[in-house]
Symmetry: C2
Subunit: 377 residues, 2 copies
């Protein structure tokens, strides 16, 4: 043995601080979900697990508000679901339009390029949203087989209207990929009513599940594009032509699903269904409005205009002269409260406050406002 | 709302049967690991999580028996770690040799093709292993920049000697990727002593951690090949040039790590280090020999020759005329014991019995042998 047994005093028992998670994710997790996660494992082809997969797909369809058959959790974090959407829809040479108004739009463009897409982008400032006319103008100039847009931009706090853009994309014959990582189960996401072709999300935001299982759903146009591919999906792990046989009736072995995370994910979806989407959206809205009103009392202003504000993620302008990182450090050290700084072009300009899923509770708003009041004055 | 709130009676509380997991994975999980998994979450950039990442990398180096700096868990199941190895090492046009003696060798070849590799394969029957001379002969015919081989083939139960093959590959200037999904922490895997360039594994086998975090390590030759790539890694989620900045000192945001799974993974690695690798290998060997001897008493024969038998995964020949699937169904229904059938060309010919990690205990061997005795006679 070249490397000896480690001195275990350097590797103590896990002892994590009791954080109040009010950043852009992960959000806090309901104790019921944590308990589900600690359930002893069954095999990934066990009849009991297969039943769980079926129930999960059904609850996920409710959560996405869709009847899409191809609706399942990807075995990875939200970025893996994003990559699954891109890898399965973009074939080398495909004309792709990406609407960029934040960090995750940029990431979509980067991924689309790696999969061989011929990518064009349109941009508005981070915090603004696109109107359908701008998308139509871009598509009139150059049609696109795939259009990508982010519904709830975690980097900016903007909520993008989708339905009209979907119509524009379809009139021109493309498929629309919509990122709902920061919005699903927190604000309205209506996959069928808005006619979204590919919609994906993460577990660790408004679903309040530990990251590691990330939902995706494909409608008829997307399935048709998938089935008509001339080339295999470049990404084997995320290849939906294979994944659908594992999650479908064939149950063909593809990979070992993250059993425990799937337990947690099922319990998280049960909590969504028990509460009901409308009640859940209303709770997120109510909590966000309480935060916005309290921030105004502290003379803090918000980065996004009221009409396009995402209830699940608020961007707060940093007052001139304030050391924003020092405030965040003290929030964490003195109050166990996590919020995040800005990302990309909003770095140093905003704080990002998430009120997502189990974190979206009045007591968390009151704690954060009280702590900020103490730290800023 | 198009789709109404579900009737919750169709979605009852999670109630999983208490399985004794003796298949090819997932294996059973130590209660300490399950408890770690149920710990409330911190953020993925929390100082406490970053400390956990550092400790995890250190314990992982011990587990792999390596000093490699670039050693981390991929945020996905074992197949994701396999794809990470392939995606980062294979550039379009690279000459690749894949040694196939089972299902996972085939999968490696399939992935290498998707990443644009110019793939040749050599084959021996499932259950046999390669000798270094055969690999040398293939490389003499056509040199390869990347060679891939499976150390412990979960589909066949064969344990492949590695050190001599590594030498042959290096003499010819290639890098060697070794799959240790079914072997790491169950039988000796000595990354530095054997001079392996890229080694990956899964969590849910001999590490006995729920699937979702899958270790990989890259040595100097592999890092050099990575850094000299002419093209970006086609797979964004698994791009090690990005992942190393998140797991390295820069801590650059890449994706949200599966926090809870990383808690569990750390605890699983602590259990490996506490037990010590040599003691752990001896336990796996002892338990396997007890199984092999008991199977002989039942007049059952093993598929793999004694010299190349994998202690963590045993393939048992199905006696002529026996309905093997019916036996497995009754093992599960009457005894809560999971074993697996054959995969690929061994389908219907063998059972696969895993004694991995926390499952590798004498009481499980005794239970399985007793149940088989009842069912076969």
């Amino acid at each position: 043995m070249v490397f000896p047994q480690p001195d275990m005093t350097a590797f103590p028992e896990l002892a994590m601080p009791p954080r109040v998670l009010l950043g852009p994710g992960p959000s806090m997790v309901d104790p019921r979900v944590l308990r589900a996660m600690a359930t002893p494992l069954v095999g990934h082809l066990d009849p009991a697990f297969i039943q769980l997969m079926d129930r999960t797909k059904e609850l996920l369809r409710y959560t996405f508000q869709t009847a899409n058959d191809l609706t399942l959790p990807i075995s990875g974090t939200g970025t893996a679901a994003m990559e699954a959407a891109v890898a399965n829809m973009v074939e080398p040479g495909d004309s792709v339009l990406v609407c960029i108004n934040g960090y995750f739009g940029m990431r979509l463009a980067e991924m689309a390029q790696r999969y061989g897409g011929d990518v064009e982008t349109i941009r508005v400032p981070w915090g603004d949203v696109f109107d359908a006319a701008a998308v139509k103008a871009a598509l009139d100039q150059r049609p696109a087989q795939v259009v990508m847009i982010v519904h709830g931009e975690t980097s900016s706090g903007a909520a993008q209207p989708i339905a009209e853009i979907a119509q524009v994309v379809h009139e021109q014959g493309g498929v629309l990929i919509v990122d709902t990582v920061a919005s699903l189960a927190g604000v309205p996401v209506l996959v069928d009513a808005w006619d979204i072709d590919v919609c994906y999300s993460g577990a660790q935001k408004c679903l309040s599940c530990p990251p590691g299982a990330s939902p995706i759903t494909l409608g008829a146009r997307a399935v048709e594009k998938l089935e008509k591919r001339a080339t295999p999906v470049a990404n084997w792990y995320l290849d939906l032509t294979l994944l659908r046989t594992y999650w479908g009736t064939a149950r063909a072995y593809h990979h070992t699903a993250p059993i425990s995370t799937n337990y947690a994910f099922y319990e998280a979806l049960r909590l969504v269904a028990e509460e009901g989407l409308e009640a859940r959206w209303a709770r997120h809205r109510r909590t966000a409005e309480s935060l916005w009103s309290g921030l105004a009392d502290l003379d803090l202003t918000l980065h996004v205009a009221p009409d396009y504000r995402l209830a699940s993620l608020t961007t707060v302008r940093i007052p001139a002269g304030l050391d924003e990182a020092a405030i965040r450090t003290r929030l964490l050290a003195d109050y166990n409260v996590e919020i995040a700084g800005g990302l990309g072009e909003l770095k140093g300009q905003v704080w990002r406050v998430g009120l997502m899923g189990y974190s979206a509770r009045q007591e968390n708003v009151t704690l954060l406002l009280g702590a900020l009041r103490n730290l800023i004055r």
